[in-house]
């Protein structure tokens, strides 16, 4: 791996090493540029993935080596529904390790559909919301979807359906196994006239590009992958970036300022290293890929005489239009064993309700996924159906009776972008480094709540139709934190209403690029990763061209 002195001006600093950061690092270093990647989290088991534990207790309790998500105590955040409320401790958490959230995610890799890029036009918009068209079309992004699917390694099956994005090329790897939950979803869906498709997943079903195929261990989402079958940035993009000899990754590097000169151009970044020492890394340009909440927070932290309200925030849009991502679940028991703890979390989805339909009386759509994920401790502590005993002989009998008989349908839903839903800096709470904590303000639009209720009932209907012996679903609740955070540095053509342009360049700062989920103008159906990855490949190509053409430093 390359090593650079912080006083050396490298071509690019990339802040974050997840879905977007990994791709930016790889593409720019392969393009001949020097790159320093600064990752807030630790190394995890980077380069020695076989050491990732499959011990359910250790995975949650094992110390720093096993810490793959942000630490809500050292990195606290606060939450409130509206500006009128006082924020209280929040529970937002996200991937925080070299490779980011891709190290532990479920791996769903759905593309946005073509009309999701101009849904404001298609639906006529929704009054009082920030539902807007994107500054790019599906056709423009399609080649980069293909690139992302083939470079990362996505398993899936191309289908011809009005409810699934059209593809110019097949997936590189066939779909993962359809689990019993998927088979039951098919049974229920066929009785209701609904369409089930195999879910595209960032887990390779067979050997691909030197990595081995999934062994269906079942300790999947939330765990690191010990056979490198999950196509994370950590086993795809980042090792390839390092191999160029032009990319250095620094873990436990907590960036708290993007520095600018008097003319308003970035000069580099300031971060705390693992020992809390302050380090300044100089760079010709900065790529901000810290995720859909932390990127906005870092811009707001980067106040200067030139940018008193935070970097790239002259229009007060940074942090706004946050979409945390709503889901709703329903569960069921069946007569025979599913054994859905084996394999991946999901693999099949009902897609008929992806588009919004005015006949439903509200804006909203979503994708219903079949899933089962009961690892033993998790199942025994909280996986039993309502009304069962919590201890004693009846509890033990219920554990025995219900084990492996359950499936869940979780629907991933639209969420309207609202200017009032936002990330900003908490005026009181500080993190373990003394920096203002992230404050999240979020209350879903009334249509989002109606959409959740719609999907809650649809899922119960499908489970009943599939022959369930018992079904249940909790009340609907909108999100208060999530790994699917999006929208807080939205892209757009109008500098008044967006943070970056259609090529991710900050309207206010020529050599600052924000590339991650924060750019998403609309949230799709709450499966953002593949679109983030396609955007990153497209952004990297454009930025490399600008750098080679000498236009990096000017708008």
């Amino acid at each position: 791996m390359a090593q650079f002195s912080p006083s050396t001006e490298v071509d690019f600093v990339v802040i974050g090493s997840g879905a977007a950061g990994g791709i930016m690092a790889r593409q720019l270093s392969m393009g001949g540029f020097t790159v320093v990647v600064l990752e807030q989290g630790g190394w995890g088991k980077y380069g020695k993935e076989h050491e990732y534990t499959k011990d359910e207790y250790l995975n949650e309790n094992g110390g720093l080596d096993y810490q793959l998500m942000s630490d809500p105590v050292r990195q606290p955040n606060t939450f409130r529904r509206t500006d009128a409320e006082n924020a209280t401790p929040g529970s937002h958490s996200y991937g925080c390790v070299v490779g980011g959230g891709t190290v532990t995610y479920g791996g769903s890799s759905w593309r946005h559909l073509p009309w999701e890029f101009n849904e404001a036009t298609v639906t006529g918009g929704v009054r009082g919301t920030g539902l807007q068209d994107w500054p790019l079309t599906y056709a423009e992004l399609e080649p980069y979807y293909v690139q992302a699917e083939w470079e990362m390694g996505i398993s899936g099956m191309r289908v011809d359906s009005p409810f699934v994005a059209p593809m110019s090329k097949d997936y590189p790897v066939p779909p993962v196994a359809l689990k019993a939950s998927g088979a039951l979803m098919k049974t229920g869906a066929s009785k209701l006239g609904l369409t089930v498709v195999r879910g595209p997943l960032a887990v390779i079903s067979k050997d691909y590009q030197g990595r081995s195929g999934c062994v269906n261990c079942g300790m999947c989402s939330g765990f690191g992958c010990h056979v490198k079958a999950r196509s994370s940035s950590a086993v795809t993009m980042l090792p390839q970036a390092e191999k160029t000899g032009r990319c250095e990754i620094r873990a436990r590097a907590y960036v708290h300022e993007i520095s600018v000169d008097a003319a308003g151009a970035c000069t580099g970044v300031v971060y705390f290293d693992a020992e809390k020492r302050t380090v300044r890394q100089r760079a010709k340009a900065v790529i901000l890929s810290a995720n859909g909440t932390e990127s906005a927070r870092l811009l707001l932290l980067s106040k200067s005489a030139r940018f008193p309200n935070g970097l790239a925030n002259s229009n007060d849009v940074v942090g706004r239009y946050l979409m945390l991502g709503n889901t709703v679940s329903a569960n069921a028991l069946f007569e025979h064993e599913l054994n859905d703890y084996k394999g991946l979390v999901t693999g099949a989805a009902i897609v008929d309700y992806v588009p919004s339909d005015p006949a439903r009386g509200f804006y909203g759509g979503g994708r219903m996924t079949a899933r089962g994920f009961d690892t033993p401790i998790n199942y025994a502590l909280r996986g039993l159906s309502p009304g069962t005993a919590r201890w004693g002989a009846a509890y033990k009998q219920a554990l025995r009776d219900e084990a492996n008989h359950k499936m869940t349908i979780t629907s991933f839903l639209t969420q309207l972008p609202l200017a009032t839903n936002r990330v900003d800096l908490d005026p009181d709470v500080k993190d373990a480094w003394g920096l203002p904590a992230m404050r999240i303000t979020s209350q879903s639009h009334a249509d989002d709540i109606r959409n959740m209720e719609f999907f809650r009932q649809k899922a119960l209907d499908v489970l009943q139709a599939a022959g369930a012996t018992k079904v249940w679903a909790g009340p609907v609740n909108d999100a208060r934190g999530s790994a699917h955070n999006r929208g807080s540095c939205r892209m757009g053509t109008d500098p008044k209403s967006s943070v970056v342009n259609g090529h991710h360049r900050a309207h206010d700062v020529p050599n600052l690029f924000v590339v991650d989920g924060s750019n998403l103008v609309t949230g799709g159906r709450n499966h953002p990763t593949m679109t983030i990855q396609a955007l990153a490949f497209r952004a990297a190509e454009h930025i490399a061209k600008a750098a080679k053409g000498g236009t990096l430093a000017r708008l």
Binding site: S93, S329, N378, A380, A483
Partner: protein, 223 residues
Amino acid sequence: MMAEPRQRFSIDFAAGRSYNQPRKDTTMSGHDRSRRAFLRQSLSGLGAAWAIANAGGIAEAAAFAQQSARAATPQAFTFFTAAQAADVEAMAAQIIPTDSTPGAREAHVIVFIDRILSTFEKDAQGDYTKGLAELSANTRRRSPAAASFAALSSADQIAVLTAIEKTPFFNLVRTHTVTGFFAAPVHGGNAGKAGWQLVRYDDSLNHRPPFGYYDALPDSTSR
């Protein structure tokens, strides 16, 4: 109220699930305590695999496991006194009783709990000390002549536990009992994989489809 440890959900499942507000915990104080309390109370899920314990916990636990394996006779308890261990084991045995298959007692859940209180979950020691003292007081109230909770009849034990089943201490012991019964045997409980056998969990970590009944049906995957 002390809640159960955080739910481990899949990343994409957790996105946008409801986030209940962490409840104020009156039994905890200090940074590590609040950290653990946060974990127990937070429903942030998100597949969170991050640390709770001291970084040395793994090494200590591994050393303990080796030592235990070498010992010819059962290891003395590290944290509990013999009397405390008997009471906790009696509680665990009521939470997951022995019937036609092993319960918490046969699965050596007490070994798990004693061990984590000396390693990963040292910060819960005070909750046990205090909770067991209260359990003794409850026992004496019910049966003044009883030497200990463990010495009560099973029916009396159930009555005492039913009266406290909503307390933070009971929930803590329940969580630890269930966790110990289903955690990997290397942590001291789940002896003979008794927990995994109860729920027919195959720990081979290498499975081939079809996994269950419904995906094995003819045409289930081709439709």
